[in-house]
Assembly symmetry: C2
């Protein structure tokens, strides 16, 4: 299969690597606003060629994977629309789906039914194609959020492509997707960034950070993620994220009062609920 | 050395294990409010004997390690005071120091100079002596916060004891200690508990939690920690923690407005500061 990769980063590179291992790639052409990313992907054997534009990359492709930050996707779809082969399929890998679907619907025109919105639930905090890992998706989930217009052929083809990476593929409504990931992904990223920024902004912040231990390391691992990517995600999913953040802040208001007043019972109640659910979560995750 | 362990859990058990490996233990006697913890530690070869009370455990000891939750320490010190041998040394392992010092000063009487406040910066989220690990402290830091009254001999002896676990031992003012760990440890624990509790309290919470990925796993690992222990820490260090939480909530108020208004610049600014500091932190931590 001739594949075009638009946005040459860690996720797109990992998918290409997995598809190469599965023997699916006859030719892969890439485009990125940063030519160094394309050069790196060629050096790694992930891409066969670079293209000078989105349109050039897509011209000959049977499948186009859009793996840019979600904030760039509307512009990419606009450039893809006139360039796509009539029988080409498309997918994205964005962490938000409602906004990406709206962008695709607005720009792709007749090609919109060939577009399958997708979200691979896998990642690491290290951006850049040099951190691509063909095994990243094995055993992980990929959520597809097709619309009423999505062609059954495109959906089946993209479902098969993601399954060939070793992932479990499922379908979900885009609105539900965005609500779920606002809670379990976008909010924790915002909170983790916020903790490091809050400490780092203090006069003694650097000294404090120096004493971060194992708990700090884990809690803030995702604060090393790409700022531009997460800015885009937070803006793209702002309605669901705003709601989750508001609920979280309401709980923090309550916990602030409990800390101020030394109200051990309220703290314990919240911590016990959390510890019970988190241990259940770990058991369920391990059982998968 | 004859050691008494008051509070038989993961940290106390790990220290005993390390001291046994270093050949320092001639006899270890333990007391815990839960007799099953003592039985488990005996079965693991960490304790030689159990005692029926704090006083009985301490009667013959040259060194007493208090490894209960910090909320129980005042009661423990009160029971230790009349039972300690005249030349015995004591240390604790509490995550907060100002309150523990106040409790010790109030209860230990003439033995207060023999008490060395200590905080080993190592841990894991799994409580219970069955998760003890003699290698837990290798390469980690132990912070001692002696007071003006602390005896130089006791301080030197406890410093040596912790150094023999493979840890780097340093001294710090207790007030500064509590400010630092409010920021880099106590606050992230509270925030991690709060996230799981906030999601879990929603009608669709269980379904949402089921989609937590690698970022969620890391961010919430510490939410599986002991609720009682962290309730005690949050109450014990409430003045420093309240201040850190307030500063954090002020930043979240700003980020809520940014999300509500789709203000990408504010989000990016915060995320970039955090990512830069977190990457520096990781480089510095790796270099150690």
């Amino acid at each position: 299969m001739r594949i075009a990769l638009i946005g040459v980063g860690m996720i797109g590179g990992s998918l290409l690597g997995a598809w190469r291992q599965a023997g699916l790639v006859t030719r892969a052409t890439g485009y990125d606003i940063d030519p160094r990313a394309v050069a790196a992907a060629r050096a790694l054997g992930l891409l066969d060629a670079g293209a000078a534009s989105v349109a050039e990359a897509a011209a000959d492709a049977q499948f186009v994977l859009v793996a840019t930050p979600v904030g760039a996707m509307r512009r990419v779809f606009a450039q893809l629309a006139p360039a796509l082969a009539p029988d080409a399929w498309l997918a994205d890998v964005g962490s938000t789906k409602g906004d990406v679907i709206a962008d695709a619907r607005a720009e792709l025109g007749a090609a919109f039914p060939c577009f399958v919105p997708a979200h691979p639930i896998a990642g690491k905090e290290l951006p850049g194609v040099e951190h691509a890992d063909a095994g990243l998706f094995a055993g992980k989930r990929v959520v597809l959020t097709p619309t009423a217009e999505t062609s059954a052929d495109a959906l089946a083809a993209v479902e098969d492509l993601f399954a060939r990476t070793g992932a479990q593929v499922e379908r979900m409504d885009a609105v539900e997707h965005d609500r779920i990931f606002a809670a379990v992904s976008h909010l924790p990223h915002l909170l983790s960034f916020a903790l490091v920024a809050a400490i780092g902004s203090q006069p003694a912040g650097q000294r404090k950070l120096g004493y971060g231990g194992a708990g700090f390391r884990d809690f803030t691992r995702i604060a090393a993620s790409s700022p531009a990517m997460w800015r885009d995600i937070c803006v793209a999913n702002r309605s669901a994220l705003a709601k989750e953040l508001r609920a979280y802040r309401t709980l923090l208001d309550r916990l602030q009062r409990a800390v101020d007043e030394g109200d051990a019972a309220t703290l314990q109640q919240t911590f016990e609920l959390a510890a019970r659910l988190r241990r259940q979560w770990a058991n369920a995750a391990d059982a998968q």
